[in-house]
């Protein structure tokens, strides 16, 4: 971290910049809060008031007590949790292997992971549906968990590899000299040092599973099994959308994401790596 070599002007400028961007980030969200408080399913408004005329919490009440929203949230938490754990476990190990070892097909593997992301998802739907039907994975969570993991892994593996690249090999070598097996060297020394990258992997895997609806739409056919994005889609019609419920739902859906980010962000700022090699 940079020390106090920044001038006062620099400090004021930094705060100003941050404030401006926070305003930009937050303003549209205040509009969504307004929609959730407004009766009558109105997305837009000619007034810029934050609290609308006739503001009511009825949408929240209806959402929580008259729709399976809480059930959907439980489903999403379940799916996202498994995907996150899977993502962190697999990406941390695969990224490590690619970073530390040279083996036949290493470059192609990295390229290959990248390639899997390039195909427009729209067209993957048809064959995926066929496969899922044949494997009898329709209407089960196993299917979507595997697909979400496959979607999130390429970025996470790459990311972990990149981060591992910045950790000197000397640390593992010191561990090996002390008698650790390769796995122990990884698990005890390197893995903890990669905390910031693990946070990003966890967050990204979680977000992938939390917000995805294209695949879930195809796979899940029972309203009680819906994940949150599918549940929210139930308020969307072709001509008319139940905006009040949708906005309230959208806001509630983001709370766990923000919560997760808050919980993980202290690991995002570690700065432990360095100092370890000196001397």
């Amino acid at each position: 971290m940079s020390t106090s070599s920044t001038s006062t002007l620099g400090k004021i400028g930094s705060y100003a910049f941050l404030t401006f961007f926070v305003f930009l980030s937050v303003y549209p969200i205040t509009r969504i809060i307004t929609v959730s408080l407004r009766p009558g399913d109105q997305l837009l408004s000619t007034s810029l008031d934050f609290i609308p005329d006739g503001a009511t919490l009825d949408n929240y009440r209806a959402l929580l007590f008259e729709t399976p929203f809480l059930r959907w949230m439980l489903n999403s938490v379940l799916v996202a949790f498994v995907v996150t754990v899977t993502g962190v476990a697999l990406a941390s190990t695969a990224g490590y292997a690619i970073s530390r070892y040279r083996f036949l097909g290493r470059g192609s593997m990295l390229s290959g992971l990248l390639i899997t992301q390039m195909f427009p998802a729209t067209m993957l739907l048809l064959p995926l549906y066929v496969v899922l039907i044949n494997l009898k994975l329709l209407n089960s969570y196993l299917g979507i968990i595997v697909i979400y993991s496959a979607t999130a892994l390429p970025f996470c593996v790459w990311q972990m590899k990149g981060y591992y690249d910045t950790i000197p090999v000397a640390l593992e070598e010191a561990a090996r000299i002390d008698g650790c097996t390769p796995w122990q060297a990884f698990r005890r020394v390197i893995f903890p040092l990669a905390a910031p990258a693990l946070v990003i992997t966890a967050l990204f895997s979680f977000m992938t599973a939390w917000n995805e609806y294209v695949v879930a739409n195809v796979v899940l056919q029972d309203t009680d099994m819906f994940t949150l994005p599918l549940g929210l889609k139930m308020f969307q019609g072709d001509m008319t959308t139940q905006w009040g419920l949708y906005a309230a739902g959208a806001l509630l859906v983001s709370i766990p994401v923000v919560g997760l980010f808050l919980a993980l962000s202290r690991y995002l700022i570690s700065g432990l790596t360095l100092g370890a090699v000196k001397g």
Binding site: T93, P120, S149, W158, P196, Y246
Partner: protein, 336 residues
């Protein structure tokens, strides 16, 4: 290239590793102890099993999900599957590709997609890194609060945030025009009814949606840069700017490259935002990127063969581009 953070000791250790590693790349763990000769064969297998365990599950999952759909689409792109031939389709060769390239709007939309991607990535990364650097400074107080507020665009479902932005771009009642006229005295801009302005509107929305992700990745990457480097630079009297370009940027690269490369790929293929903000391509189907054509063709016109061919073209473009990019940045090489 010399890694700035290596100390002499680490450097020497690395040199030794390289000598002994040779082509196999096995870490320098086999010791040729004359008393107990190391059983090299089983160690080699142990090593292979170790690698297999590390890589196997990932490869298995990713391949199994992507391989079949990919080849299915290759076949589809060579077929005449559409609404009149949805069960009895035949392979007809490259006609669909010919149809794709002879579509009058193709090159125009292709160009638009490239511009869309480039502008978005430049701003995503620029803003993301800049905000991360500021947020990383020791003099900032209340860091958790700033961080949380800045990731909100990423945290909310895109459907409603994109449509909210669409509302904000409305000519008479939108917040953007109101702000422009009240704060800057400008006359209102017809955002959504003119092709160029609509394109700008879609890009602005996507920048808003995308910068938090790059910011988080950059924040993580900044953690791997030792503070001592900045201190040393301060002692040498370097300016903020110089510190940024000579220390921060090169050392952020390994972590940012995956995000940028994949960011390019994802942005190129991001149908949601364009579709939602422009209401399906308005005005007059001018606000399209290639992938929204795929959706329209497949699920509104039911021209599956044509859509598959266009998807393959998109894939081909991205493939070539990323191969070139990876070569130039040596990103698939390790640090060692």
């Amino acid at each position: 290239m010399l890694e700035a953070k290596d100390t002499v000791a680490a450097l020497e250790a690395r040199e030794r590793t390289k000598e002994e590693a040779g082509q196999n790349g096995r870490p320098r763990t086999e010791r040729t102890d004359p008393v107990r000769p190391a059983p090299r064969l089983s160690e080699a297998w142990q090593h292979r099993i170790f690698l297999g365990a590390l890589l196997g599950p990932t490869v298995l999952i990713v391949l199994s999900v992507v391989a079949y759909p990919f080849f299915y689409n290759v076949v589809l792109s060579l077929s005449n599957m559409n609404i009149y031939h949805i069960r009895d389709w035949d392979v007809i060769g490259f006609q669909q590709y010919a149809a794709v390239f002879s579509e009058p709007a193709f090159w125009n939309v292709f160009l638009k997609t490239v511009v869309w991607t480039a502008v978005n990535i430049v701003f995503h990364v620029g803003l993301g890194v800049f905000l991360a650097v500021i947020l990383n400074k020791s003099f900032i107080v209340g860091k958790p609060a700033w961080r949380v507020l800045l990731i909100l665009p990423w945290a909310l479902p895109q459907y409603i945030t994109a449509l909210t932005w669409r509302g904000m771009f409305n000519y008479e009642y939108g917040a953007v025009n109101l702000l422009l006229s009240k704060a800057f005295g400008m006359s209102p801009i017809a955002w959504l009814t003119s092709p160029f302005e609509a394109f700008v509107a879609v890009i602005l929305t996507n920048i808003w949606l995308g910068f938090p992700f790059m910011m988080v990745v950059a924040l993580g990457g900044l953690q791997s840069i030792p503070g001592e480097l900045y201190e040393a630079a301060d002692v040498d009297g370097a300016s903020e700017w110089k510190k940024f370009w000579s220390i921060t940027v090169p050392l952020l690269k390994p972590v940012m490259i995956p995000a940028i490369t994949l960011g390019i790929v994802w942005t190129f293929n991001n149908i949601n935002v364009v579709w939602l903000v422009s209401n399906g391509g308005e005005p007059n189907d001018q606000t399209h990127i290639l992938v929204s054509y795929v959706y329209e063709a497949a699920f509104q016109m039911y021209r599956f063969g044509w859509a598959a061919a266009l998807s393959m073209v998109i894939f081909g473009v991205l493939f070539v581009f990323t191969q070139v990019l990876l070569k130039r940045t040596n990103a698939t090489e390790g640090a060692y």
